[in-house]
């Protein structure tokens, strides 16, 4: 179980997060949402160790795979090298990089360079890189943003399929409340200034049985929490 308790996080004089506590149960799929600029990405960065200027505690250690908002691939390295460089091959077997690329359906592009990939393909490489490290926790920061709906839908389905198979602990940030309703076990809403946890709802699985009206109702419930923040 990875648990973070943030007593305070400031940017200069501005208070960003106060008394935010989040526990990620093993194998769970948590979605974090809230208005723009409320500190969702900051929370992810704190969990990943990218931000150390905050007060609070993290308990539990985990190998983290991180899917950034933009793919952040090395343009001078092939798809395979991008994945292999991130996966420490002294820890994970070399085959895992190729397997990870196959999992996201890019076997045919292993030797392509990022400049030759579409945004959807680059996002898949970023996902492959995150899963090639053999993550215990997979952090995803708006991984499907700025994709056309068809590609985003495919990547959502792919992510869910991979998660159901491997059961990594996932923490994903999104603004898309239908996406949150479709993918999460639990949706946590951040809100207020400084941001606190404004509410959270647990969602049942299997989701396949749920119909479109259920998704709409859930998204509306979430919108209610997001929009009622002070």
């Amino acid at each position: 179980m990875l648990q973070v308790r943030i007593d305070a996080k400031n940017f200069g004089d501005a208070a960003i997060l106060r008394d935010v506590s989040l526990a990620l149960a093993p194998g769970s799929f948590t979605v974090l949402t809230g208005r723009s600029g409320c500190g969702k990405t900051t929370l992810l960065r704190i969990l990943a160790g990218l931000d150390r200027d905050w007060r609070g505690t993290i308990s539990g250690e985990a190998r983290i795979g991180y899917v950034f908002q933009d793919p952040r691939l090395l343009p001078w390295r092939s798809v395979l090298d991008n994945v292999r460089l991130a996966a420490d091959e002294s820890v994970t077997p070399p085959k895992m990089s190729l397997d990870a690329i196959a999992m996201v359906g890019l076997e045919a592009s292993v030797s392509a360079y990022p400049g030759a990939l579409s945004m959807g393909m680059a996002r898949r490489v970023a996902i492959a890189r995150a899963i090639a490290v053999g993550p215990q926790v997979l952090i995803m920061d708006e991984p499907f943003v700025s994709l056309d709906e068809g590609t985003a839908g495919q990547l959502r389905a792919l992510t869910l399929r991979l998660w159901q198979k491997h059961r990594w602990t996932v923490l994903m940030v999104t603004h898309n409340l239908s996406e949150a309703a479709q993918m999460a076990d639990r949706v946590v809403v951040l809100g207020g200034r400084p941001a606190r946890i404004a509410g959270e709802i647990a969602l049942e699985r299997p989701r396949e049985k749920r119909d479109a009206p259920w998704l709409e109702q859930t998204a509306a419930r979430l919108r209610g929490i997001v929009e009622c923040e002070p």
Partner: protein, 270 residues
């Protein structure tokens, strides 16, 4: 999962082919242009007294004689040694200073005025001061050339360090690349175009300053020979040494620097 129509791989083949065609074009246009320059020189030399502008044939024959006597090779080697030493010193120190200034705003604010002063010190002043401080020796010669070049390298690499992608640095941190792996796979490839630019402009500047350094305080090298034949009013031999050295430096540019730069930026065209 199958690819959608929006997910396509762009072929680099067309770009590569266009570059190759342009490459073949240059193989013809560059020698033709240089040949035209030699013809122009030959035509002018028909009207100008041979003492002032010796014809190309005479310069070539003299060049062969200097080569056979071993003098040409000896002096070109001496100059090349100084160029190489000054280049390595200037690139190493200049890159270190530039990267430090690019990464630290405080250091940049503190030392930027120094850099501007250093950029504006005339080469001749540095050379004379180095000879006065260190004596007429190799250390002074190499230091004088390197000091002239260090500010240029630092300015170029400062721009490179400022342009480093923070997102990639964070990616390297999340995936625990460590210092060496980050330097090799994340930082140096981003700095490569700046290093290449500094190296190419560096070589061009260094070899010109080395000749002045040799003229003022050394007893061998191309600069020394040119100063000697200046005193003897032997323009043909001045041409021999100047042309020989230009050829050597162009070979360095074409055989080492340009291929390295192409290799470093190959991924941009793929």
């Amino acid at each position: 999962m199958s690819s959608t129509s929006t997910e396509t791989t762009v072929s680099g083949g067309d770009i590569g082919q266009r570059r190759r065609v342009r490459g073949y074009g240059r193989l013809i246009s560059v020698p033709a242009s240089l040949l035209a320059l030699v013809v122009l020189w030959a035509v002018f030399s028909l009207w100008v007294p041979p003492d002032l502008l010796p014809p190309p044939g005479k310069v070539f024959a003299l060049g062969v004689r200097e080569w056979n006597s071993g003098a040409l090779l000896f002096h070109v080697e001496a100059t090349m040694g100084r160029v190489a030493a000054a280049f390595v010193v200037a690139m190493t120190i200049g890159a270190a200073i530039g990267i430090a200034l690019g990464l630290s705003k405080t250091a940049d604010r503190a030392f930027d005025p120094w850099l501007i002063v250093a950029l504006n010190v005339p080469a001749l002043v540095t050379i004379v001061l180095c000879y006065l401080w260190f004596g007429l020796n190799e250390v002074a010669a190499v230091a004088a050339v390197a000091i002239n070049k260090i500010p240029n390298v630092a300015v170029t690499l400062r721009e490179g360090a400022r342009a480093l992608d923070r997102g990639l640095a964070e990616m390297a941190a999340v995936y625990r690349f460590g210092r060496l792996k980050t330097l090799r796979h994340v930082i140096l490839p981003q700095l490569a175009p700046f290093l290449a630019a500094a190296a190419r402009s560096g070589i061009a500047l260094i070899w010109k300053i080395v000749l002045v350094v040799e003229l003022l305080g050394r007893s061998n090298g191309v600069g020394f020979q040119i100063s000697l034949y200046f005193q003897l009013f032997d323009i043909a031999r001045i041409f021999v040494y100047a042309i020989a050295f230009i050829l050597v430096m162009q070979t360095v540019e074409l055989a080492i620097l340009q291929p390295w730069e192409r290799r470093a930026s190959r991924w941009r065209t793929i």
